[in-house]
Amino acid sequence: MLTAYRRICAYLCFYIEPVTGSASVDHMLPKSTHWQQIYEWTNYRLACSMMNSRKNCIANVLDPFEIEPGWFELELVAFQVKPGQKTDAQAKKRILETIEIMGLNDRECRKLREDYALLYWNRDISLAFLERRAPFVALELKRQGRLNKQ
């Protein structure tokens, strides 16, 4: 599963460093209500320790697999995620709920995005490294024309 996901957390979209007791697979559907499906491969998502500690049995969170391109955008001042401009009202509502429930804009998450972006802009890390480690940040920098000049 780690290989299939290239160690990227399905919720936060960052590389999960191999540390003792970290990356865990997560049940998308709560075990308590969908116990007969607990061994279904398609019912698992890879989650980092931070996200895994937050997603317990919350049915309203968007399934990472149903998210369409453009649903999430990143603003590059405080590094918060927000619903994309072209999302319809219903998707927007679910996106905002997911951000709230998963705490996608709390300090720890914003700091991590900020560090990736600053290090890239500062040329401490390469675009290839950024794309491998923080694909969402890389995508947003590209979309907003904020990539470094060659």
């Binding site: 957390c9 460093e17 191999p18 003792t20 991590l112 290090l119």
Partner: protein, 411 residues
């Protein structure tokens, strides 16, 4: 109000000096360097009484142990230790400070000095020179010379509540102010019996989760807050009564000495306690000109961080006890906004707000990063160590992994 303290040959160093500001004064420093001792001396300077044992001077026959201090009037007073009687003598014609002083000790005890009641009294007089409450006395009441000085929180609270008098309004107000913001504030419930063999009705609080809990069963943190709230209201009420009996005007200054202001408090309460204490005095006295001076010992980065919006170097000060080469120093610190509690931890001497093992591994990583040429094998060993202590989403990984990848590529 206390203006300054200067100690010679008493306490943790041969000389200590402290200039207080009129509002907030923080003392920080490691355990055992003399922070609480400074509060004891401040209490003595304000009230001419010791709340515990008198300060014991250094055993140096040539030295003349001395405590000097100045109150708001600006006149410097001194006391030189008398070895024969082992006392700190004070001039009989000099009275204590003309302000209400409340000293909250860390064991739950309190001392109260009321200039309208305690001035001019000495040991052996009809009344005490100051009021001392052990932790239980605040709750159960305190008798002095066979007369009830204070009925205690349990009795007074229910009596006030029955009468719905001004004291009860104030108590309610103070408890609301001391509750942390965000949540529903603590509210006062109806008193209830809790003991077969105790005829008293016990005051209750309605907790934010809706249940009514007798105050004696609430958490240590809440009990300390309500003991403080009650004692404030009690001291102020009694002061007003005494001022009227003695044809005096009520005081315009309240001084709080609080040892470990954060004791037993959840971080959320630690963030609001300071502001609450400052506001409480206004609420009690209904006079904006009543000023509050606070001298407090704290170990809490959150208490300090919470003071940032409030802090004003004209009115407030921060002091640190430090040990260097076997000597203890007390020095005023330059105030600046540090932004968050992690940085305040740094101010308190903790560089990395992480477990000791993680700090050790990070220091090894910093060391190899600062070398001109890093050895891959050592770097890999440090990397393995880091993986046993850091979280998978620690921002340090970004730089570290990128650097390690480059090092692997180079060799």
């Amino acid at each position: 109000m206390l203006g300054s303290l200067a100690l010679q040959h008493v306490g943790p160093a041969s000389a200590l000096e402290m200039e207080l500001k009129p509002r907030l004064n923080f003392i920080t420093g490691d355990n055992g360097l003399g922070k609480s001792f400074m509060l004891d001396v401040a209490w003595w300077a304000l009230t001419r009484t010791w709340s515990g044992r008198p300060a014991a001077p250094h055993r140096n026959p040539k030295a003349a142990p001395r405590i000097s201090y100045c109150l708001a009037s600006g006149e410097i007073r001194s006391s030189i230790f008398t070895w024969e009687t082992r006392t700190w003598p004070v001039d009989a014609d000099q009275s204590g400070a003309p302000c209400l002083v409340i000293y909250a000790q860390v064991d739950g005890g309190f001392s109260v000095w009321d200039p309208a009641r305690n001035t001019g009294r000495k040991a052996g007089d009809s009344g005490p020179a100051a009021y001392r409450f052990k932790a239980d006395d605040v709750w159960e009441g305190l008798e002095v010379n066979g007369k009830p000085l204070c009925n205690g929180l349990i009795r007074d609270w229910t009596t006030w509540q029955g009468k719905r008098n001004r004291a009860f309004d104030q108590l309610q107000h103070v408890i609301t102010r001391l509750s942390p913001p965000g949540d529903k504030a603590l509210a006062i419930g109806e008193p209830m019996r809790i003991d077969l063999d105790d005829a008293r009705d016990f005051p209750t609080l309605i907790m934010p989760y809706g249940q009514t809990v007798p105050v004696v069963h609430t958490s240590a943190g809440i009990r300390r807050i309500i003991a403080l709230a009650y004692l404030l209201v009690w001291a102020w009420q009694e002061h007003l009564a005494a001022a009227e009996l003695t044809n005096r005007k009520p005081v315009e200054n309240i001084v709080f000495l609080v040892d470990e202001i954060e004791a037993h408090l959840h971080p959320r309460w630690q963030r609001s306690i300071l502001r609450a204490l400052l506001e409480v005095a206004d609420a009690l006295t209904h006079q904006k000109q009543t000023s509050v001076q606070l001298l407090t010992v704290t170990h809490s980065p959150l208490v300090l961080a919470s003071a940032e919006p409030e802090f004003d170097s004209e009115q407030d000060s921060i002091w640190a006890f430090e040990e260097r080469n076997g000597f203890v120093y007390l020095e005023q610190q330059r105030w600046r906004r540090l932004g968050d509690a992690s940085n305040w931890l740094g101010f308190l001497g903790i560089e990395e707000p992480v477990a000791l093992e993680a700090e050790q591994a990070l220091h090894e990583a910093y060391a190899i990063l600062s070398q001109e040429e890093a050895d891959l094998e050592t770097a890999e060993a440090i990397d393995r160590e880091l993986r046993t202590v850091l979280s998978d989403v620690n921002p340090f990984w970004i730089r570290w992994s990128s650097w390690l990848e480059a090092l692997r590529g180079a060799s």
